[in-house]
Every structure is written in C-alpha cells, then in structure tokens.
Amino acid sequence: MAKVYIDNDTLVIEIEGLDKLWALKSRLEIPLPNVRGATADAGVTREPKGIRAPGAHLPGVITAGTFHIDGERIFWDVRDPAKAVVIELRDERYARLIVQVADPRATVDLVEHAITRSAT
C-alpha cells in the first residue's frame, strides 16, 4: 500500500508497512512537471510484468519492486488489484509507477488536478 500526496511541486509516494521490504523502496519523489497522469486501473495486474529486478513477485499475492518490460522500468507495489493506480512519468528513472492506494479515485483526482494546475 502506498500513500500518495503533493508536497509543493513534488508528487510524493510513500510505501507503507512491510511493503517497504518487498519493494525495497520506502519513498519516491517526482517533480510535478515529470508526472504525465494518473489512472485507476483494476485490470493492470493481469498484464505481463516483465523481469523483476529487484523485488518480490508472488503471483496473486503481491507484486512489488522494480520490473523491466519492453525497455521500460516500472515500479510496482500492489496486493489488491481493485485499488491499483497507474502513474505515468516522463524523464524519470521509472516510466511508470503502479501502486495500491486506499482510495484510487481520490488519488487520481489529486494527481490530475495537481498537474493541470502546474501546467498553467
């Protein structure tokens, strides 16, 4: 599970609880101009994940850590697919972040509003 919030012009993703261990990461900070959008996507966990390096992948239980697919680096932290949010980035180490949040709709609104504001 991840906590997603905006701190000034930065999108902060905090990995909570034991997922920190599996994902091998506790916090990601992305400048808002590098955030392209956020989408609630309950079906994303059924997609091929690619090669895990490093992290934990127990199909059906947890997907956490860094995965490589189609030449892209993707950060995952999802246990419950219904609460997955996809955050697309540009010019960052990760092409996208796929994280589980408490309220996907609220997170999507938060991110989309923040990037609309920062673009104007």
């Binding site: 959008g37 997609e47 697309e88």
Partner: protein, 184 residues
C-alpha cells in the same frame, strides 16, 4: 528504447471518440479501452499518459474534426441560415456532437481543461449562429447575442432528446422558423 508504436494514433483516437460518446467516463475502465481500441495497455499509457489524457485527446479531435467543420460550413454557406437549419435542426439532420454533449454534462463541471475546450467550441457555435441570423455586430463581439445563445442551447437540447429516442421530428424546424420569420 521502447518498442515502436504499432498503431495509428488517429485511428485509436477516433475509436476513443465513439466509445467516450456513448458511455459515461467513469464507466469506462482501462480494460474497456484496451479491448475496444485494440492497443496494448503499456502503449496506451506511454502515448496518452492516462485515461484522462486519452479522453482529452479524443475530445479535442472530436471538436476539431467533427464539430468545428459543421460550424465552418454554416459560416461559409451562401445562405447560412438555411445551412444551420439543414445541418442542425431539420428532421434529416444528424450532427455528430455527442461527445461534446456528454462532455458538457459530465466532465466540464469537474475538469477545467474540458470546460475550456467546451467553452471555446460554444463560442464558435454562438458566433456561427449570430452570423447566420444576420447579426454581424454581435458576431464580431465576444459576447453572443441572447438569441444566438438560446438557439445554440435549443439545438443541443434537441440533440439530447433525439438521443433518447423521443421522436422530435419537426420540433427544431418549427422553432427555427418562428425565430427567423422573413422580414416583411
């Protein structure tokens, strides 16, 4: 380096226009988009950034390629009032503006970028109607005449009622002819 895009972006956007024009935004999942648009999920994110990014691209395409050409035809017609009547309110008229309608109801109130796109198009709508009504002074100004505003609202409303299957045949032309009676 990622894989090259294996799809035609415009084709995908056109398919998205049809999908977004007939279903509620929140009712369309990314699974639906992947299925209906025939695009890989990763490519969808890579190209459009998010579902909202795709929606904005679809809305802009719809307004640019489907709605504005209708208005351009009205303003360029030798008889603009007749063109307006034929294209928007006659029984045979079937103006393609369903995504615009849905955007006005659903997304514009909650999304400032959608609101801006819709407002811009409606300004064009009002201006075209003002021109058709022969009130050039109002068209030159930013503010539409009250009659143009009311008429564009009526045109959109008629389209909404037609969508629900209510047979409104003739309603538009009756209204239109009332408003635009030939001057004696």
């Amino acid at each position: 380096m990622g894989r090259p895009r294996a799809f035609d972006e415009t084709e995908v956007i056109r398919a998205a226009v049809s999908l977004f024009a007939c279903r509620a935004y929140d009712g369309i999942s990314v699974d639906d988009l992947v299925t209906h648009l025939g695009v890989h999920r990763n490519s969808l994110y890579k190209v459009f950034g998010s579902k909202r990014g795709l929606y904005l691209a679809a809305l802009r395409w719809h307004l640019e390629h489907q709605v504005r050409p209708l208005l351009a035809k009205v303003t360029a017609a030798p008889d603009p009032i007749r063109a307006l009547r034929n294209m928007f309110v006659a029984g045979t008229a079937n103006p393609d503006m369903d995504l615009l309608l849905l955007a006005m109801v659903e997304r514009a109130p909650v999304d400032p970028e959608v609101a801006e796109e819709v407002a811009r198009t409606m300004r064009g709508f009002d201006a075209a109607i003002d021109l058709a009504l022969g009130d050039g002074a109002a068209a030159a100004d930013d503010a539409p005449s009250p009659l143009a505003y009311a008429l564009s609202a009526a045109i959109l409303g008629l389209r909404l009622r037609t969508r629900t299957g209510v047979d409104a045949a003739g309603a538009g032309t009756v209204l239109f002819d009332r408003i635009h009676q030939p001057q004696p």
